[in-house]
Symmetry: D2
Subunit: 264 residues, 4 copies
C-alpha cells in the first residue's frame, strides 16, 4: 500500500535519482548551488540563474560574531555541545526579526506591483506603498536600512549582477523605485534607508522566478556554513563555559585582500 | 576592551570581509561551495579541490524520505512548525549512528596508515586493521556497507573523480585496500561490504587536506537543502497532523533522465 | 553600567532568590509544580490553584508513541543523539496544529465572552460564536474533538476538579456553553465534538487567572517528561537506526491498576 | 502486525494509562513531580522519595540570566522566535560542560565506592579517588566548586533534606568523604571546593535509587521552566533584535522575602 508521495528523490537499490537525475551523474557536473536549486525547484538552473543563485547563497554566508543566531550557536558550542546541536541552536535564533525580511519585503513589492497592474506608473505605485507604510509606521520598511551599514555592499553587488545577467525585472525595478520614494519623502529626509541584502534577495529571487518559500529556504541554507564555522572556531579557540561578550571582540584573520582577477 | 577574537569575518561600516576577501567581490566570482571552503579553511580551493568539494557536497544532499533525520523534519513540518524549526529538528536526528561514519571511518584509515608508517605494506596494514576490527566486532566497519545499496553509486563516483583530479592519495588508496581485505577475508565471504558514501567522503576529504571536523561540517551543511526540501514538500502536499508512514510511500517526480552532456 | 533587567532570579554569592524567595527555602517547602507557577507568575499559588496547576501539568505529560512530537524525539534518539537533542527535536514538532489549540481555544472563549459582556446571555453568546465558526469553517473548533477519544478523560477530570476547587468561572462555564451549542446544532448532529484536554486547559487556566502565554508555557513544560521518557526508552530497548513505524506497536508495561485511595 | 513495544503509556479510546494508572485518576492525586517519577521509573514514589524528588527538581529550576543555555534561549527569543524554538535553543546549550557534572560526579562516586567494596574504609576510598583525580588533573572534580558560589545553598539544603528523610546512604556519605579529602589535601589548601548542586543531585539521586540516565533527565526537565520564563520575559520586556550583554544586567523583581512558615 502506498499512502503518500514525494517528488524529490527516488531511492532504489544502487540508484539515487534527484528530480530524475542520477545523483552520481550530477556529482562533478553540477555545483552544490545548482543542485540545491534542482532539489528545491525541480529543474537545473540556466547559466544566468545559476550565477545569480550562487551569488545569493554567498551573500548571506556569514555576518561576523554579533547576530543573535551566531551568538546562540556559540553559547551552545561553549558548553561542549556537538556541532549539530550548536548549528541547530543557531538556526532557531532566526526568528521573524532576523532574516525574516525576505518574505516581508517580497510581500511589500507584491503590494506595489498590484498598484502598478491596477494602472499606476511604477514610481506612483512605489509612492503609494511608501505613503501606506508611513501611515502604518512600517518604517524602516522590510528590506531597507541596516544596523551596521549605510550602504550594504552585498545588496549593491547582487542588484548589479542581476542587471548584468539580464535577470532584473519588475521586482528589482520596483525595489529601486521604493528606494527612490523613501529617499525623496520629506518625512524621511534625515534617515537614509538604503536597500539591504534581504531586500536585494527578495527582489532578485522574485525576478529569478523563485517562490517566496524557496527564497526563504535559500537564505536559511546559506547561513548554515557560517553557523558551523563559528561553532567550530568557538570550540577550537576558546575556553569552555566562557561568558561570551557580544561586543568586545576583534577580527584577527587574514588582512584585507582582493579577488578581482578571479572569475568562476 | 577586546576580550576575544575571531578569524572568520570582519564587519565594519559598509564592509564585510570573509577571511580577508570583500564578500561583494566573492559574490559572482566564487561559487557557494568554494565560499563554504573559504569560510571553513581560510583559503579558496584550487580548481581540482573545488570540483571535488562541490561533488562531495552534492553527494549527500538528499537520500529520500526514509532517513530518521528526514522523518524528524517531516514530523515537525506536519504540525505546522516553521521551516527553521523543521530543519533544526532534522539536524538533531543526525546522531552518531547516522552520518557519523565519516569521523569513525577517518579514524580507522588513520589507524591503518599508522601501521603502514610503522613499516608494513599498505595491504598488510589494511589486513591488520581488518583483523583487529573483526576481533572487536566492528563489522561492518564504518564507511562500508549500506542499508539500501550493495554498490553505493555516490562512493564510486567520488572516488573516480578524486582519481581523475589527481587528489587520490594515501587515504583513498588505503580505503580501497581495506575494501580488498574485507572482500577476501574468509569470515566475511557471504557479506559483501562495499565502500559507502561516508567512507568515500572520509577518504577523499583526507586526501584533500581537510581536518575530520571540517569534513563532518561539510556533511552537515550538505544535507540541509534536503531537509528544507522535504519540510516544504510536507507542508505543500500533505494534510496537517498526518501519521507519517516511513515505508509506504512512492516517488512521483520526473522520470529518470540523463545529465551526461553537461559539464560544470 | 546596567543595561537591562530581569525580574526572575537574583544571583549573588551563595544566594539564589527566585522571585525574592531563597531557592533553598523553597526546596522541600513548595513542590516543583508550585515553583513553576512562582517562576512564571511571580507568586506562589493558593492551595486550590496549586492543586489545579499540578493536575493540569499531569494531564498533558504523555500521550503514547504516536504524536508527531514523540516520533520526532524517537527518530532523533534512534540515531544515537543525546537526550537533550532528542527532547529538543520533540519540542520542535509542537507546531500550531499540535498543542496549539490552547491559545486558539482561549481566543474563541474570549470572543464569546465579549458577546456576553455586550449583553447576550451566556448561551446566546456561545450560540453566536458557534454560528460564526460554522460560517468560517472552523469546525471542529479548537478545544473540541480528538483523533482518539470521543470523550477525553483528561478534560472531564480537569473540569470536575476546577468545580470541586471553586475555580470554575466564566471561562469553564462558557466552554461548556459552547459544547452545548455544538451538540444541539442541526448541522453537527452526526459529529460529536466533546471538549478535549486542550479546551479544558484553555478554560481552566483562564479561570485560574493565567495569561494565554503562561498557559501555553505550562503545556510545553508538561510534555517534556514524556519526550524524555520516550527518548530514553528508545535507546534502552530498540536497535539503533531502526525504521520507526508509527502505527504497529503495542504497550507492554504494567497492567491497568487503580490509584483511587491515594490523595496528594 | 506489532513490530515494537513501549512500556510507558497505553492509549485506547477514551483511555490513557500511564504505567498502568488511568491518567485522569492520577490528576489531582499525584503531583507533577510524582508523575514525572512515575513516568520515568515505572512506579509512584514513597512519601520520602517524593519530597526529595520535588526538592531536586526545584533546586535546578533557574539560575538567572547568565548561563549559556539561558543566553541561547534569549538570543532566539529576541529574534521573535516562538517559545518552543527558544526553549529548544536553550536545551541545546546544555552540553557536557553545563549540567553535565551529574553523570561525571556519579561516576566518580561509583569509582570510590568500588574502592570501598574492595575493602578500604569510606574515607580511605575517598582519599584514593582524590589522589587519582589530582594525578589526572581532574581538579576541580565534577560536582565540586562553582563559578558564583563558595557554598552552594542548593547543595546544602538537598543533602540536609536527604538526611532528614532518611534517604542518605552510601552515595551522599561518600560525596561528603570526598569533600573532606579535598579540604584536607595539602595541594588544595588555598582552593575551597565545596559540593555544588550537581554533586548533591548526583549523590542524592544515587541514594534514591535512580539510574544516572534518569537523574540526568530530571535535571533537563527541571530547567525547562527557567528557559521558558526567560524566553517569555525577553519578548515581554525587551526590544526585538537587541544585543544581549551577558554581564550588565540587574534584578528588579520582588525584594528578598521568607518562606519559612510554609510546609508542603
Amino acid at each position: 500500500m502506498t499512502d503518500w508521495r514525494t517528488s524529490l528523490t527516488d531511492i532504489g537499490p544502487n540508484r539515487i535519482l534527484v528530480r530524475g537525475y542520477p545523483l552520481d551523474e550530477v556529482m562533478g557536473r553540477a555545483s552544490f548551488g545548482e543542485t540545491i536549486y534542482l532539489l528545491l525547484t525541480g529543474e537545473l538552473p540556466s547559466p544566468a540563474i545559476s550565477r545569480l543563485i550562487e551569488a545569493m547563497l554567498v551573500s548571506f554566508i556569514d555576518h561576523g560574531a554579533t547576530p543573535p543566531s551566531t551568538l546562540s550557536a556559540r553559547n551552545a558550542a561553549t558548553t561542549g555541545s556537538s556541532l549539530r546541536s550548536s548549528v541547530a541552536a543557531g538556526i532557531l535564533a532566526f526568528g521573524p526579526h532576523h532574516g525574516g525580511d525576505i518574505l516581508a519585503c517580497r510581500a511589500r513589492i507584491d503590494e506595489a506591483l498590484t498598484h502598478m497592474h491596477g494602472g499606476l506608473s511604477m514610481q506612483a505605485a512605489a509612492d503609494t506603498l511608501t505613503a501606506r507604510m508611513l501611515a502604518s509606521a512600517e518604517i524602516p520598511p522590510p528590506g531597507f536600512g541596516h544596523r551596521h551599514h549605510t550602504k550594504d555592499p552585498r545588496a549593491s553587488r547582487l542588484l548589479q549582477l542581476a542587471l548584468e545577467l539580464g535577470v532584473d525585472g519588475n521586482y528589482t525595478q520596483m525595489l529601486r523605485a521604493i528606494e527612490r520614494s523613501l529617499a525623496k519623502h520629506p518625512d524621511l529626509a534625515s534617515r537614509p534607508m538604503p536597500i539591504n541584502v534581504d531586500g536585494a534577495i527578495a527582489a532578485v529571487s522574485g525576478d529569478a522566478g523563485l517562490s517566496p518559500e524557496i527564497a526563504d529556504a535559500l537564505l536559511l541554507i546559506s547561513r548554515v556554513p557560517g553557523l558551523a564555522a563559528h561553532s567550530l572556531e568557538e570550540q577550537a579557540r576558546e575556553a569552555p563555559m566562557r561568558t561570551i561578550d557580544p561586543t568586545h571582540h576583534a577580527y584577527d584573520g587574514p588582512a584585507a585582500r582582493r579577488l578581482s582577477g578571479r572569475r568562476k
